[in-house]
């Protein structure tokens, strides 16, 4: 029904929005390769010299290592708790099922500062010193929903007859889980884990309130930008973080279809969501 003109206008609009979305990202990646130590456009000379400098910076290294540890722990916790929640919600119909989905998405839908201040108050209340573990607790809380969404979406696509057949053939619950359910869930688990990792690795708002004196990589970046120090290194680190967060998304999109990546409960609440064609 769209006229030719409408189509042209829409096309221009879409290209405009895509440029809006990607020009900033491209700009920052370009600056990572700038030779200069000030952020002035246009870039006069290109160089990769800031990469080794950032890599050998002791502060960056310590922060990177802390971020990796925090993200790994948070991912592990959200894998267990997120898939447990998905199993429970999927298998059993009960009053308030939808409420659980809503509850789990709250830490992502409400401003992170609320989670941050709430956790800080609680740690202060309980006399818990801020450490790696308080960072992990904060991250896991908002990462759980990511795994939950992915696993639940997959469970809804797996036919119940598959597990029933397994039981009929004499497998017990554990065997069915290990030999039938787990292989069908594996890609959903992997993409959920990758996304949880990406989310945790980059998080700065909640972490501001749950990290003690130590810096995660995003906290180091935030601090450096505020002070206007070491900006060439910031360009490099930020490009690296962009990559670390984009690669899991690309992999997850391949494994489970881009629909699992919406962050809200899109595609999981609707039971009859049309299947995203698998990546070619």
């Amino acid at each position: 029904m769209e006229s030719r003109l409408t189509r042209v206008i829409l096309r221009v609009w879409v290209v405009g929005v895509l440029l809006f979305l990607f020009i900033p990202i491209a700009t920052i990646v370009l600056f990572a390769f700038s030779k200069s130590n000030i952020l002035i456009w246009p870039i006069h000379a290109f160089s990769t010299k800031w990469f080794p400098i950032a890599w050998h910076d002791a502060q960056v290294r310590t922060a990177l290592w802390l971020s990796i540890k925090a993200a790994l722990f948070a991912t592990a916790i959200s894998l267990v708790l997120g898939s447990a929640a998905a199993f429970g919600v999927h298998r059993f119909r009960f009053f308030g099922r939808e409420t659980i989905s809503l509850l789990l998405v709250l830490p992502l839908a409400l401003p992170g500062i609320i989670t941050g201040i709430a956790l800080k108050s609680a740690f202060n209340f309980a006399g818990i010193t801020l450490s790696l573990y308080t960072i992990v607790i904060g991250h896991a809380t908002f990462c759980i929903v990511v795994v939950y969404n992915n696993v639940l979406a997959r469970l809804r696509r797996v036919s119940a007859s598959l597990t029933e057949a397994s039981m009929d053939l004499g497998a017990n619950g554990w065997q069915t889980f290990r030999l039938v359910l787990l292989p069908t869930l594996s890609t959903a688990l992997i993409s959920g884990a990758l996304l949880a990792f990406a989310l945790s690795f980059d998080e700065v708002i909640v972490t501001t309130f749950t990290a003690g004196a130590q810096n995660t990589l995003p906290l180091w970046v935030f601090g450096s930008i505020r002070l206007g120090q070491q900006l060439p290194e910031v360009n490099v680190v930020v490009t690296f973080v962009l990559l670390v967060t984009a690669i899991p998304v690309a992999v997850a999109a391949r494994l489970t279809g881009a629909r699992g990546l919406t962050r809200s409960s899109a595609g999981t609440v609707r039971e009859a969501a049309p299947e995203e064609p698998s990546a070619a």
Partner: protein, 301 residues
């Protein structure tokens, strides 16, 4: 004595437990649901309660120690002129950002559903989702580089002979950056809503004599509206509490709820007041979600 099963294996304690669990759906539901729910109860909700209690405490102005006696002074202070202005400014920003994103998202999502080929649609979907996950901090920082005085935007405008816009470190800059950061959150639910409009609705509208524009305003947009509301939950809510963008992109005088909370933790070291102020976005979002539910946003997720 172990019972031999059909497969010739003996049934051990664990198999019996797993079989019993399999038969009793509720037992499994309780077993699988209680760890995550316990986590949320102990970590998230207990923390919110701790935040409420903290908000009712105060800080001794001389020693900077927490005073553990009940007072509503923090909440009373929020209702004074300074803070009401800040809350109003933040709400205004959240509203403008939400409208901007809706305007940007609607034609985009419409193109995805009704013009693009399935292949293009899938590509566009991925291109929208990618910035959603790509480092938040990196994307905010990119705009400093673009908007500052020696930045890309000024340079481009100068070379086009349009003068320098010089919008770095201002509320305009914040408006652009917020709209940019949350845009994918709007496009996805709007796309979800548009995708579910059957072609037959639009054909029927045409058959009944409606012109394209009329079909757009009377059929497509009303059906897309729940998607816009669903997206607005994110654009609105996330703008309310963000402190990174006001601190890095905003000017020296741009106080928003988020960075005022932040400065109460850092410099002022007044956790009770920060906690009280953190209830402002919560209350606003409870009101907002109630309205959104009424407008049908939850079906659009």
């Amino acid at each position: 004595m172990a019972v031999t099963s059909a497969l010739g294996r003996s049934e051990t304690g664990t198999t019996r437990v797993s079989a019993a669990l399999w038969r009793r759906g509720w037992a499994r539901a309780v077993l699988t649901l209680s760890p995550p729910l316990l986590w949320f109860l102990v970590v998230y909700f207990a923390s919110l309660v701790a935040m409420l209690i903290t908000a009712l405490w105060s800080v001794n102005p001389f020693t900077n120690n927490l005073v553990h006696s009940w007072t509503f002074s923090n909440f009373r202070e929020i209702f004074t002129g300074t803070y009401l202005t800040i809350i109003g400014r933040t709400l205004g920003m959240a509203a403008i950002v939400t409208v901007t994103d809706a305007v940007l998202a609607l034609p985009f999502a419409y193109f995805m559903t009704r013009v693009a080929s399935p292949r293009t649609r899938k590509l566009l979907f991925t291109l929208v989702v990618l910035p959603l996950w790509a480092s938040y901090l990196a994307r905010v920082y990119a705009w400093i580089v673009i908007l500052q005085n020696g930045g890309t935007l000024n340079w481009t405008f100068q070379h086009l002979g349009l003068g320098s816009p010089n919008i770095g470190y201002s509320n305009v800059a914040m408006w652009i950056v917020f709209s940019y950061i949350w845009l994918p959150f709007m496009i996805l639910p709007v796309y979800g809503a548009l995708e579910r409009i059957p072609d037959s609705y639009i054909e029927a509208s045409g058959d009944l004599g409606a012109r394209n524009l009329r079909t757009l305003f009377r059929v497509v947009l009303p059906l897309a509206f729940p998607g816009v509301v669903a997206g607005s939950i994110f654009t609105f809510s996330l703008t309310l509490g963000d402190f990174i963008t006001p601190l890095l992109i905003g000017g020296s005088s741009s106080n928003f709820i988020g960075n005022v909370i932040y400065s109460n933790i850092g410099l002022a070291n007044n956790l009770p007041f920060a906690a009280a102020l953190a209830f402002v976005p919560i209350v606003i979002m409870i009101i907002y979600l109630t309205i959104a539910r009424f407008l049908g946003a939850f079906e659009a997720f």
